[in-house]
């Protein structure tokens, strides 16, 4: 049976979600998305460029009919800004599945959980299906789930830092406690970080900078695809226990 995951009634095979920011060109972005195997990409909602309306658009390169666009509220620092942004996104795209992110400060881009929870409640009340960026706190994750978040997306490390999963214990606790999908969002720097997230039992990983800022984004996108797949397989396989000391692999009996 295929190993799929489902969020808000929609089923996906790829467990890697990639961002579409920071790329050198739309062509490179599209090639990286293809190499990553991602079925979902995050996108931002911004003012159209009225001074130059004829310039190429993301939708010319990444087809929203083939790849699910997940509108994100990156850059919003209050619940109101995020809600306003997603109402526009719903009108622009026509879908309810969105990613909510309400930031607390520019330096760390840590989420403001009070505003995030407030925005989640309002959005759910308006029929949105929010996947929610949050701190790696199992209690906050539970509160978001109770408020109607369709996926919990704890940070592994600050956005764009590439520091990897800083707290495996809290990510694992969130995974164990959640009834909705859990995806690490932010902090992945290289392939092994993505594998760690998947080995902890996460349903998926979301990343942008780790691919976009690699020297060769398309090759890194493929590395991330493989890392997510292998991390997932390792999780399903069930890793061996850890020991404090050595344990020989060859039989001790029959030694000459």
């Amino acid at each position: 049976m295929a190993d799929t995951w489902t969020v808000a009634g929609r089923t996906f095979t790829s467990r890697l979600i990639v961002g579409t920011g920071k790329y050198k060109s739309f062509e490179e972005n599209a090639a990286a998305v293809a190499a990553s195997g991602a079925e979902i990409v995050t996108v931002a909602v911004r003012r159209v460029n009225i001074a130059d309306p004829g310039q190429p658009m993301l939708t010319d390169f990444i087809d929203p009919n083939k790849i699910t666009y997940l509108p994100n509220t990156a850059g919003c620092f209050t619940a109101e800004e995020a809600i306003r942004t997603l109402r526009l996104a719903r009108e622009a795209g026509g879908w309810e599945l969105v990613k909510l992110e309400v930031l607390g400060e520019a330096k760390t881009l840590y989420p403001d959980m009070r505003e995030t929870l407030r925005a989640t409640e309002t959005l759910v009340g308006e029929g949105f299906k929010p996947m929610v960026y949050c701190v790696d706190d199992p209690i906050a994750a539970k509160q978001l789930e109770e408020a109607g978040a369709v996926a919990i997306m704890p940070l592994g490390a600050p956005i764009g830092s590439g520091l990897g999963i800083q707290n495996r214990v809290t990510i694992r606790l969130i995974v164990e406690g959640a009834k909705v999908p859990v995806l690490v969002d932010a902090g992945v720097g290289t392939a092994s970080d993505a594998s760690v997230a998947m080995e902890l039992g996460c349903d998926g990983v979301l990343m942008n900078t780790a691919i976009a800022e690699a020297k060769d984004p398309v090759t890194m996108a493929r590395a991330m695809k493989l890392a997510v797949e292998s991390g997932r397989l390792a999780y399903l396989a069930g890793r061996m226990g850890q020991r404090r000391y050595a344990d020989p692999s060859s039989p001790l009996a029959g030694l000459i």
Binding site: G19, M57, L58, P71, R84
Partner: protein
């Protein structure tokens, strides 16, 4: 109001004059935008895409016109 058949509005933070009586869809086209690829907010209220051709632009309106761009 200037009596030359135009009205004053704001679009994405910038001032503009347009011919009185046009619809929001016509405004988008005048700006070089494909109405089906953008979302429009008029005085902080969403203008549903299905009504873009019916809603009239009025003097003093404040518009935000957005679309999807690359982002994380």
């Amino acid at each position: 109001m200037v009596h030359d058949g135009t009205i004053s509005i704001r679009v994405n933070g910038g001032h503009r004059r347009v011919v009185a009586g046009i619809s929001v869809a016509e405004l988008a086209l005048e700006l070089g935008l494909e109405p089906t690829r953008v979302a429009v907010e008029r005085n902080l209220e969403i203008v549903p895409r299905s009504t873009l051709a019916e809603v009239r632009v009025e003097d003093g309106d404040d518009y935000e016109i957005v679309t999807f761009v690359g982002g994380g």
